[in-house]
Subunit: 407 residues, 2 copies
């Protein structure tokens, strides 16, 4: 597997664009489009929030009924959530405007929204933006970056990655972009993410690969414990790589799965690292747990603890908060058996063993915690299962961003 430049336009046959549609703000791109002239197998995973935004309902219909699509149109100004029947009608009008400009069916257009909840869309601006985007589409890496920028809200950087693998002698590319910084919590995919690939694969296996991998990637990320109403992860596969169609879980499937996993994990970590106000990516890796489910629960409990997140911001090895978070996770274990390490590019240090503090240097611990990527490594000494969760520190900026966001 090879990491390559780019994102949603890296795979053959995909084009993208971003535009200033004026949905909510001025002087920033706030609508994006991704398009493939060839029809795509589509797969998706969506928020488990009971309150689901109109575009989530629309996309579920497209993915589950058609399992094919050619375009995604996104706005990053208004979430179109809690907007009732009018919100659904506006979602369909957005898809129809894109479809007309592209000369495809309305039910081939996926629609995504992110932004403030409860406001109605300025639908004429959306329709105008969709038409303009259709005329600007390009297959360049720059066009992919334009789209990645246009879907940002409180994100500080555009987020995109791409990899290529060989399947049956053909080069298969998987690329993606995502946005997400606040209202991020593992329970489905917790943000907007779009993965494009030129692999040829059956729709059933594409959905199966996506649904399985999201449990280890996007669902292991949390910024603030709030599961959004709009979370959507879409994958479009247009088959342009020319590989023999993957119809069973053979070696080709395994290679594609590895590529998809690499893109999903990289995008998920980018979201955690760019969590609202974050200064550090904070990972919890739990090893030797008795079950995979327990490993996940324990890891998530650590990265979602507000006190632990604040201690990471303060570069303070306040390991008692990590033990405390493991303890209230709901998983049963023997606190005397657990071992805890802190790890980063500055080193690895044992902090806790035999039920008490290890004999460690606070200076070394602070040095480790001062890096931009910090991992709490927890050895449960119970079994063979492991899991990693990704989050970020809790900072003044998080509060500032979210006390001011709407007004």
């Amino acid at each position: 597997m090879k990491w390559i430049q780019g994102g949603v336009t890296s795979a053959k046959g995909f084009m993208a664009a971003g535009v200033e549609a004026g949905v909510k703000y001025q002087n920033r791109k706030d609508m994006a489009m991704v398009y493939s002239a060839a029809a795509c197998r589509a797969a998706g995973v969506f928020t488990r929030n009971i309150v689901q935004a109109a575009p989530v309902l629309w996309d579920k219909d497209v993915v589950h009924k058609n399992a094919s699509a050619q375009a995604v149109v996104v706005n990053s100004g208004i979430a179109n959530a809690c907007t009732g029947k009018q919100g659904l009608a506006y979602c369909e009008r957005t898809a129809a405007a894109a479809a007309k400009a592209l000369g495809i069916g309305t039910d081939s257009v996926l629609v995504c929204s992110t932004g403030v909840i409860g406001m109605q869309l300025p639908i004429e601006k959306l329709e105008d933006g969709a038409a303009r985007l259709a005329g600007m589409l390009q297959g360049t890496l720059e066009a992919g970056t334009e789209a990645a920028c246009a879907i940002m809200t409180t994100d500080t950087v555009p987020k995109q990655v791409a990899v290529s693998v060989e399947i049956g002698g053909k080069t298969v590319t998987v690329g993606g972009m995502c946005k997400g910084s606040g209202m991020i919590h593992p329970n489905m995919c917790t943000m907007l993410a779009f993965v494009t690939t030129d692999v040829c694969i059956s729709g059933e296996l594409l959905q199966e690969a996506l649904s399985a991998d999201v449990e280890d990637t996007f669902n292991m990320v949390s910024v603030d414990g709030d599961t959004s109403t709009n979370d959507t992860l879409l994958v479009l596969a247009n088959g342009q790589a020319g590989n023999a169609e993957i119809r069973e879980k053979n070696e080709d499937y395994a290679i594609f799965y590895e590529a998809l996993h690499a893109v999903n994990e990289a995008l998920a970590k980018k979201i955690a690292a760019d969590g609202e106000g974050a200064t550090a990516l904070f990972a919890a890796k739990v090893v030797h747990a008795d079950t995979k489910a327990h490993a996940k629960t324990l890891a998530k409990s650590v990265i979602t603890s507000s006190l632990t997140k604040a201690a990471i911001f303060g570069h303070d090895a306040n390991w008692g908060r990590i033990l405390c978070a493991l303890g209230y996770s709901g998983v049963s274990f023997d606190p005397e058996a657990v071992e805890l390490y802190l790890e980063s590019s500055a080193g690895k240090l044992q902090i806790f063993k035999d039920g008490i503090a290890a004999d460690y240097s606070e200076e070394e611990a602070t040095a480790i915690l001062s890096c931009q990527e910090v991992t709490a490594l927890v050895d449960m000494k119970m079994g063979q299962e492991q899991a990693t969760a990704w989050g970020c520190d809790l900072t003044y900026e998080y509060v500032k961003i979210n006390a001011d966001y709407r007004s």
Copy 2:
């Protein structure tokens, strides 16, 4: 029922004291004692965290095996959690020092600790402090306040209340004090709290009343989602009021329960209002839910949402975050049926109905949200059950306090 001055010394026969023992800090009182010359029925509820501090293990033993006690000794410098066998031994030595000075049995002394996790106690200072406290005990309201101050950590105000009721022609008093500001989340009693009463009641009914009431009071409070290793709520009843012993759930029991509930609820709300860094008490009241459990889950989901808490800090009627928090709570409901109101001393305003925003004034909403006590009233339109949860806003100060706490 009558609200009266005072706290743990308000009921007949209870004395208290606070002292500078130098456990961790200088120039502040950090040890407290509560004592009754007459033996007390004791009841307690404790943290459900798997990682339980040494004094939690000690107190469970005292309460469950003896169901009687005469003294509580508390330090607010070091939690004595994650301290292994030495921590348990130090807990017993603290109880023994208090017992010797008071001339009572070691197993009549309850011990509580709060503060930093993982450090060992400076045991000589604890023993010295316990002995000094025994010589300073007084039954005055001032002595109760001294004790309430001595158990504070990041609390900004001492927290105590008292009520009196008539039972069988006798005046029965219930008073209490508590501490708690961070590491506060509903899952048992989430802090240290001590309630004293002169009621005469069987040990079984005392525990039953406490266990039932805590589900509607202390367990409905959250500051930051972190369930502490040390959470303890103890009730001591010395029978000095002279009422006929309450041995069944008769009218006398109902009157006592009402008084205990009033004290517990008032103490719990004080903890939420004084949450670390908080500028406002934020309550969520869910009415017309289909079950009591669902009402509680929904109310807790709203007051624990970081985004909602930040919006309350910003006085921003960002109601989409409240709908979102209801939606990811795990409770099933119809978002179109829910109605949402914001309420405070400045008024009551309908914000959301029929699946979309109500036609409300942002100015009025901001005025309501600018008060020190704000309630989100959620009408589920599903049944007859209701519940209230209490939390606070999320502020810069919370981050500051917890990035710096240990160092």
